[in-house]
Amino acid sequence: MKLLEWRVRRVPVGKISLILGILAFVLFATWKIWALTGYWSLEPAFDSIRNFFLNLRDKFGGPGELPMGLYNTIIITLKLLGILVVLLLIGAYSTLMERKILAFMQDRLGPTRVGPRGILQPIADGLKLLQKECIVPLGADRNFHYLAPVICFIPALMGAVLIPFGKGLIPVDLNVGILYFFALGAFGELGIFLAAWGSNNKYSAIAGFRAVAQLVSYEIPMAFCIMSIVLLSGSLKIGDIINAQIEGATAYGGLGFPIWFIVPQFLGFLIFFLSAVAETNRTPFDLAEAESELVSGFHTEYTGLRWAFFFLAEYVNIFIGASIITAMYLGGYAGPELPFLGITLSSVVWFCLKVFLIFFIIVWLRGTLPRLRVDQLMMLCWKRLIPIAMANFLLTGIFVFANTVRLTPQLWPVHLENSAYTSIAAIVFILIAMFGLAWFFAKDLLKPIKERDA
């Protein structure tokens, strides 16, 4: 009787509905990806899996031919699982990389005990976290406490479909491209808020305040930078943005000459980089999880695997942010072909190198800079980054207009010979004018905060 009671009481309705929801979501994503990519590019894998089922039918009997949609679902689910495993490994090994880099900067060795030179440390950490008990505080809101790590973690994985790993290796080149990456940030905010509210703890609540205010504010300069990039490349697709940097033009626009967007958009690059660091809650912007003030903020009350989910989400988000920066400003997978590797593999190598560079700079910031105060953080965003980003956006518009004039000789005020020299001269002139204007707009803003606002 007691056993029965226990069972009746312990039906995990929340968990079941959550699992069903995630399942439905995965199915929807597979269908959408299939609808976007089309199954003709997947034909070989499709055939092999169909043959597998037909063989099963021949040997053991059974339904044999399954509906086409099911085959595609299986194939895309397998692909997604592959990406999932890669991302989890990246997330886990980013922690090791960060610890090693920090150790190098602080003249230490870092983890050395597990495996040769500490290489297996993340796996040991993962196993340790798996064994730990998930404690839910008495006064906590159980549903929110349970949901928050999931809501933080899922968008981090969803961002993976956008990452341009190499030439022709973008999992899904979405039509809305970069906006999708942007929309995922919204769920991150929601997850942090739920964690903060669900913990029923004043430190977590303060962290929730800070995180939401910070994320909402830093989205604005980011949006302006993205709009500038879209103006330059003429497309929202990640693939088109990279192509605009490699080939100079796409179907919808482009500059007419190949250049990495970090050159005409240097201010944009700086602002986007800072905002991305702030969006991923990293030092010096890690006010939401400040260990020394807030006892690690919104995940104070989390233990074991749920805590690990927050951290995995953070590191995967850093990776995605670094990839987006690479794709938008550093030419993505662009780079000379390396010997013995072929085009595709060398593009993957270039992409990984650039992402690692960005990751290294982010860790470098953590190793060297102290944390900002809340008011400094807000002032940096609203009084510095947003005006500079808006000025940058305006200048980009002027730049694109001038470039269009350059490309159409009918619009020229003076008739000149259309040669490479005039072209280069015009480009140099436009770039210098742009930097000059940017300096004119920004020089006041780049002064130390005290001087200007006193």
């Binding site: 003709w40 006064g139 979405l174 940030g185 929601l190 808020f193 989205e219």
Partner: protein, 200 residues
């Protein structure tokens, strides 16, 4: 077995699924008694609406829906809940005014009226054809090999840009002016009483 192929109807299935999801979450908004839960249900309901747009191949609209409503408005609602602490934990508020009958009948009447209007509207040709003989279209499509292309008819972003900048420019700008006025109003409203008097 080929007769059982549901592939052409997958979009319709997803549409009904997300429609149901949105409605259930909307019911959660109305009937749950904790204000934070209401806000989260609202967020899920809006995500469901975004997913509806995506099933209808309006990807841009769906993403913008999620970006604006979940990222902006819901976060603001949650923020205001956090700031005001309008409720103590564990206290449930029950609406005790006796308006449910009138509210219900008004809503039903309104939705009936809107429904009849929808029924009467002459929709554009492409949509009408799709709705009228989608069976033939999709059964024909399922046999030939253009299904990906048919399903891939997303509304291009350029079309939206053209629409906003060419025929609907005036409406677009008017909407932004309304937003600006609202923002200025809020700024003035939030000033302390004295400063407001001094400015005016």
């Amino acid at each position: 077995m080929n007769n059982l192929d549901l592939t052409p109807y997958v979009p319709w299935i997803w549409f009904s699924f997300f429609g149901l999801f949105t409605l259930v979450m909307a019911l959660g908004v109305v009937f749950h008694r904790k204000i934070v839960y209401n806000a989260v249900f609202l967020a899920l309901s809006l995500v469901g609406t975004g997913a509806l747009y995506i099933t209808l191949n309006a990807d841009f609209l769906g993403i913008v829906q999620i970006l604006l409503y979940v990222g902006g408005i819901i976060v603001l609602i949650l923020f205001s809940i956090l700031l005001t602490r309008g409720e103590e934990r564990g206290v449930e508020y029950v609406n005790r005014n006796k308006q449910s009958f009138w509210a219900f009948s008004l809503i039903m009447g309104l939705s009936l009226w809107i429904g009849t209007q929808f029924w009467k509207v002459q929709w554009p040709d492409a949509n009408r054809n799709l709705a009228a003989n989608h069976w033939e279209r999709y059964s024909e499509i399922a046999t030939i090999k253009t299904l990906p292309q048919i399903l891939n008819r997303t509304v291009p972003v350029e079309a939206i840009g053209d629409g906003l900048m060419k025929p609907y420019l005036l409406i677009f700008e008017l909407a932004s002016i309304v937003l600006l006025v609202a923002m200025v109003g809020v700024v003035i409203y939030m000033k302390p009483e004295k400063e407001r008097g001094a400015d005016a």
